[in-house]
């Protein structure tokens, strides 16, 4: 999909009819829109989003106030705004239009296919748009840089998980799982009725129902505790932020250090979990060696003892004895005639002679025992290594906790009433958070094996169910639903794994190109991610680096969507190629990072629409100018007199370019307008 045109009619700051065309030139694929604050950059981004999906960004100011105020106030008949987005997809042109009447609250959307200038209506507009750019994915293609900065550190894991699941379209499969579970419950109720009629099942059914009740109770408790954890975490985040911006120098400094230590502590905690997992994996990797080590060692000692060396297996080989008997000649040169005592004696050796097969088996057994001995010492080395890592991490964790305590005491000892109040609130929120976390952990620990036990008992009941009639039919039906749910879950897990691998690789490739320091991006199985420095230590990030990492992450999601564009699997959704429309992406990046990102982002997409203020654009122009296909300025029309006010202007290109006015005074109507620039 590529956007070709945007038409605005009385939408937000844009009074009357305004329009702009986007560049679709593959070599000059950037459309650059300049605008200072409040002139309408976000309005353009939201207009596209609203027209295509009927929604605006969650942080858009006064989201229901879409009709231009001048239009709404001047003529009652014009309380309508309209946005048209024209786009091409697979060599076909489309036009999507959405109108909104603020008086009737009526929102109407239409999509047309444009054929030779003829607009042909499309019946299932929503489905078509979603087929081209799935609505859930739109948040990653059309976004605001500041929104990314606001996304909290502790939300990254959840957001990245959500992003991956969104790009893969998990919500449809999750609906299927939910529906199958509902159907399964219904069938199970019928089946249970039949099973009750059969004798000998009462205690089993009772046991199953006890587990079912406990699991339902756990679900409710879990949801309640998770809600409490989320609320307390948000409260803590807010209180930390208030301490960090309290205006008290010592408090701000200590809070900054505290945040840095908390980031590191999270990393260390994750590493401790990883080491524990690796320790568990050692058991499955070396289990046979560990449990068989004594036996293997004894076997090997036995075979290798001097007295037995060369004798096990026995020295006489069946093949040689057979050849002697056939040749009727003994090794000593004597004749071996059948029926003679010597012949019988040699022939009797065949019973104890070793065959080639026996010989091979003994050699293999010796080899296995020798290998096991070697693997056991490998296992011991790995255990020792993990123990060393574990101790080191525990020491590091203790150090971080001690350092955090120091910073917390500094803040606590600040005798300023507003800081004291924040500290008291923070302590209370922390107590609440820790209590909820503990309760959740205990609840989950207590119920950890319940689901498995329940499934085992249900299976037993199914097995015991009379193998005929309605009960058996229902048992089969229930088993089918269970199997379908399991298959769904397994396939989702496999898709997630594939996505994680792709994102990790793409992020690391991008970091190599952009980051000034040696950084490694590591995505954990639970979707949280961390950045490691050259010494594999997790780093704390500045706001700029946080924005940079998120921009890279979103770019890698877009590449992931592009990679999957031809995926034919109906189970998850296909990928998409869509424009990348970003409002103020460079925000808090320093000049060097701005330049690197300006070079990197255009490579990730086939159409880039950048909405930039002058301060964000000036230093990057050199890096994008060759790729700019269309360029616009947003002009602020004001009804007031200019008076002593400074004229807002922009010089394009920044060096020796033409000067454009960004504000006009004494206008008859307060509004924003769009002017195209030709370099």
């Amino acid at each position: 999909m590529k956007l070709t045109k945007l038409k605005l009619s009385n939408f937000r700051q844009f009074y009357g009819e305004q329009e702009l065309e986007f560049s679709i030139d593959p070599h000059k694929h950037i459309t650059l829109i300049h605008g200072e604050n409040t002139v309408g950059k976000s309005a353009i981004l939201n207009a596209v989003m609203w027209c295509l999906f009927g929604k605006v960004l969650h942080n858009y100011n006064q989201p229901h106030d879409l009709v231009n105020r001048e239009a709404a106030n001047s003529r009652a008949a014009e309380r309508i705004c309209k946005v048209t987005v024209e786009f091409e997809h697979e060599e076909t042109l489309y036009s999507a239009t959405r109108t909104y009447n603020s008086r009737t609250k009526n929102d109407d959307a239409k999509v047309f296919q444009i054929v030779d200038g003829d607009f042909r209506p499309i019946r299932h507009a929503k489905s078509l748009i979603n087929l081209i750019v799935p609505e859930d994915m739109a948040d990653y293609f059309f976004f605001e840089g500041e929104g990314l900065i606001r996304m909290g550190e502790n939300e990254i894991g959840r957001d990245s998980a959500e992003a991956i699941r969104t790009i893969l379209g998990f919500r449809y499969v999750n609906t299927v799982i939910e529906d199958l579970d509902y159907l399964r419950t219904k069938v199970r109720a019928e089946l249970r009725k039949k099973q009750r009629e059969q004798t000998g099942q009462a205690s089993l059914i009772q046991e199953i129902e006890t587990y079912e009740k406990a699991i339902d109770k756990t679900k409710a408790t879990k949801a309640k505790l998770e809600k409490s954890i989320k609320e307390s975490s948000a409260e803590l985040k807010e209180l930390n932020s208030r301490i960090g911006q309290s205006g008290h120098e010592d408090a701000e400094k200590a809070q900054k250090e505290l945040s840095r230590l908390e980031t590191q502590e999270r990393g260390v905690k994750q590493d401790i979990i990883d080491v524990r997992k690796q320790r568990q994996l050692l058991i499955s990797k070396y289990g046979w060696v560990i449990f068989g080590s004594t036996l293997f060692n004894k076997t090997l000692d036995f075979i290798e003892q001097g007295n037995y060396r060369g004798r096990i297996p026995p020295p006489h080989v069946a093949q040689i004895i057979r050849e002697l008997l056939e040749d009727e000649k003994c090794i000593c040169g004597s004749d071996l005639k059948p029926g003679t005592a010597l012949y019988d004696k040699v022939e009797s050796q065949l019973h104890t002679a070793v065959t080639a097969q026996m010989h091979n088996r003994v050699i293999r057994a010796t080899a296995v025992a020798a290998e096991a001995k070697g693997r056991f010492s490998e296992f011991l080395d790995e255990v020792k290594n993990l123990e060393r890592q574990y101790l080191k991490l525990q020491t590091r964790e203790a150090e971080l906790i001690a350092n955090k305590d120091i910073q917390e005491k500094i803040i606590k000892n600040i005798a300023q009433s507003n800081i004291q109040q924040l500290v008291t609130k923070k302590e209370s929120a922390e107590r609440k958070l820790n209590k909820a976390k503990d309760e959740l952990r205990h609840e989950l620990q207590d119920r950890a094996s319940d689901s498995n036990n329940l499934e085992r008992l249900r299976a037993e009941l199914r097995k015991n169910t009379v193998q005929q009639g309605v009960a058996m039919k229902l048992a089969r039906q229930e088993a089918l639903y269970a199997l379908l749910i399991k298959r769904c879950t397994d396939r989702l897990t496999s898709f997630e794994k594939e996505a994680l691998e792709f994102l990790e690789t793409t992020n690391n490739e991008a970091l190599k190109k952009i980051s000034r320091q040696e950084l490694k991006f590591v995505l954990n199985d639970d979707f949280t991610f961390k950045y490691l420095d050259g010494a594999d230590e997790e780093i704390g990030r500045s706001t700029g680096e946080t924005l940079l990492s998120k921009l890279i992450f979103v770019s890698s999601l877009i590449q992931f969507a592009k990679e999957r564009v031809n995926v034919k699997d109906e189970f998850v959704i296909h990928g998409t190629i869509a424009p990348f429309l970003i409002d103020a992406p460079f925000g808090v990046l320093d000049e060097e990072y701005k330049k690197e990102v300006a070079k990197y982002i255009p490579q990730c997409t086939e159409q880039l629409i950048l909405l930039l203020s002058t301060s964000h654009w000036t230093t990057i122009d050199d890096h994008i100018k060759e790729r700019i296909g269309r360029e616009y300025v947003l002009i602020n029309h004001q009804t007031i007199e200019k008076g002593e006010r400074t004229e807002d202007v922009i010089t394009i290109p920044p060096k020796n370019g033409e000067v454009y006015k960004l504000s006009k005074y004494e206008a008859s109507i307060r509004m924003s307008s769009i002017q195209e620039i030709r370099r």
């Binding site: 929503k126 379209g169 449809y172 249900r458 048992a475 089918l480 199997l483 109906e570």
Partner: protein
């Protein structure tokens, strides 16, 4: 043929819930794709209807249910 294999699979699952027969379990995929398609259509329709969606899903599985019984 597929249905026969699925019937055998279901009977195996009944006696061994831990069964991990990837090759045969994969036979369910076309049915699952059909269910996902129903969920998609419902989500994208102007008026999603949960009850109708579940009815359609059951209908999608009708042949399979008949076959395994």
């Amino acid at each position: 043929m597929i249905e026969e294999n699925l019937k055998a699979l279901i009977d195996k699952v009944i006696s061994d819930p831990e069964l991990d027969d990837e090759e045969h379990i994969a036979l369910l995929d076309p049915y699952l794709n059909g269910l996902v398609s129903i969920a998609k259509k419902d989500h994208l329709s102007e008026s999603p209807n949960k009850s109708n969606r579940r009815k359609l899903m059951n209908r999608e599985l009708d042949d399979l249910l008949k076959a395994i019984n």
